[in-house]
Symmetry: C2
């Protein structure tokens, strides 16, 4: 019997060529329109950190800047622990590709913090909204031409993709249940990718379809490995909204809860839009 790896794991295969240097390859399964899905790039950055032999602790904070779209083909990830403290470690990460003239092109920059965490007083200050269960909702149909979207089971509660691009949008809030498709046990990399699943808020707020793309995303991880493991292959409730649309860029705030109501991560991004 041969086990075929999950497409997410296939996309994140990294081969170490030197300490902190990894070789990967873009995945057609997570292709967006002009490059990879931003979430798979964020997950790739995090995977490089998690594979590094000198890593201390679990992901706490991750910022990924999309400097340029990756081209189809191989890429190099460089992950460097630039400072290791007693319980936190600071990372610089870059993704590079070889350009047409053989030059090294930076496609992605990133920083991250990993941390050894211990139990303290804790409190959830934003409760999960009351929403129908995933079983009560329909998933989006397949999206021809946006391949990565078909790697997710996404069930909108509110703020679904506009059915009519009529300029009559009135809110930037989306709440969706989501998980990998096929289902896959949740881990830090999958959680980082889920933080970027939301379609551009400008589409929803305006009900106008304009070009848009993430420039920079930050994810704060609140869940422990045990809490991720407890989530298993269950759905994650994602909530996204914009705060300000201004002259070509809007921001988005995101919360991600497990089905049992545990805040797994919070995230933010700044997104380019046209017109």
């Amino acid at each position: 019997m041969t086990t075929i790896p999950h497409p997410f794991d296939q996309a994140l295969v990294l081969e170490s060529s030197a300490p902190g240097h990894f070789r990967g390859h873009t995945s057609p399964a997570y292709w967006n329109m002009v490059g990879p899905f931003g979430g798979i790039t964020a997950a790739t950055v995090l995977r490089a950190i998690l594979l590094h032999p000198d890593r201390l602790g679990d992901p706490l904070s991750l910022t990924v800047n999309y400097a340029g779209a990756l081209s189809t083909g191989p890429f190099t990830v460089q992950a460097t622990p630039v400072r290791t403290n007693r319980s936190t470690q600071h990372w610089n990460v870059s993704i590079l590709q070889t350009g047409a003239q053989g030059e090294q092109v930076v496609t992605t920059t990133a920083t991250a913090v990993t941390a050894v965490r211990r139990e303290t007083w804790s409190l959830a200050d934003v409760a999960m909204p009351e929403v129908p269960t995933p079983e009560q909702l329909d998933a989006y149909p397949a999206a021809p031409g946006i391949e990565w979207f078909n790697r997710y089971d996404i069930r909108p509660v509110t703020g679904a993709l506009p059915r009519q691009w009529n300029g009559q949008g009135d809110s930037s809030l989306s709440q969706v249940w989501m998980r990998d498709n096929p289902a896959r046990p949740l881990d830090f990399c999958a959680l980082a990718a889920l933080a970027d699943v939301f379609f551009p808020r400008v589409w929803l707020r305006r009900a106008v379809h304009v070009p848009a793309g993430t420039v920079s995303i930050t994810v704060y991880f609140h869940a422990s490995p045990a809490q991720l493991q407890a989530t298993g292959t269950g759905h994650v409730l994602g909530q996204a909204r914009a705060q300000e649309f201004r002259n070509g860029f809007f921001d988005q705030t995101v919360q991600l809860w497990s089905e049992s109501g545990t805040m797994l991560a919070t995230s933010h991004q700044i997104v380019y839009y046209k017109e």
Copy 2:
């Protein structure tokens, strides 16, 4: 007549020793308890970018990671534009100090995006809350021993520093009017620093005074230079709240508006706390 520079400008003096290399010195005027106020460090990172001769556009996004406290004394800022696109530019920045054995110590890592922006459809999706004017409110008194705090005129609307550390906190929300003290015309560096003015949410939510410090902060700039100029020396309304306190770290979301109700910036940070 001699004009004495504003303490903020004194703290941000950077001398260029080589392209993208700057030499600065920590400022006693912005000293916190075991290092500089995080906001002055964020402003220093941004200042280095703004001084770089190859810079394209204005600040859009800034992430600063506090790897370790700076010691009193000189430091070096290295700011590198790692990728320049048609209208965006991606920056890597580090602050370094010389350690006891003469070694170079990374105290701060950062990434940023600058962008040339043009007018598009725009919309404020989070209105400024209705609050009393700054003139109707009292500023915090001077804080002996927390010198940076005395560089700000901060007038709490709600969520002031607890008067009694009695464990009876019930909200993490603060709204405050704030500006430099003495007043100083607002610019991108001052705005970056203002994003970090809020005392730790864990103090407010618990009304318990525990050690806490920012690990990583991200600022998204929405204002244009003209909008900052229009704000002048007016107060800025800052709103901060936490979303999740978990096992040694909490997150904080921040909005900053001008007195006229313009969203100037949104910001987020992840903060270490003890116990």
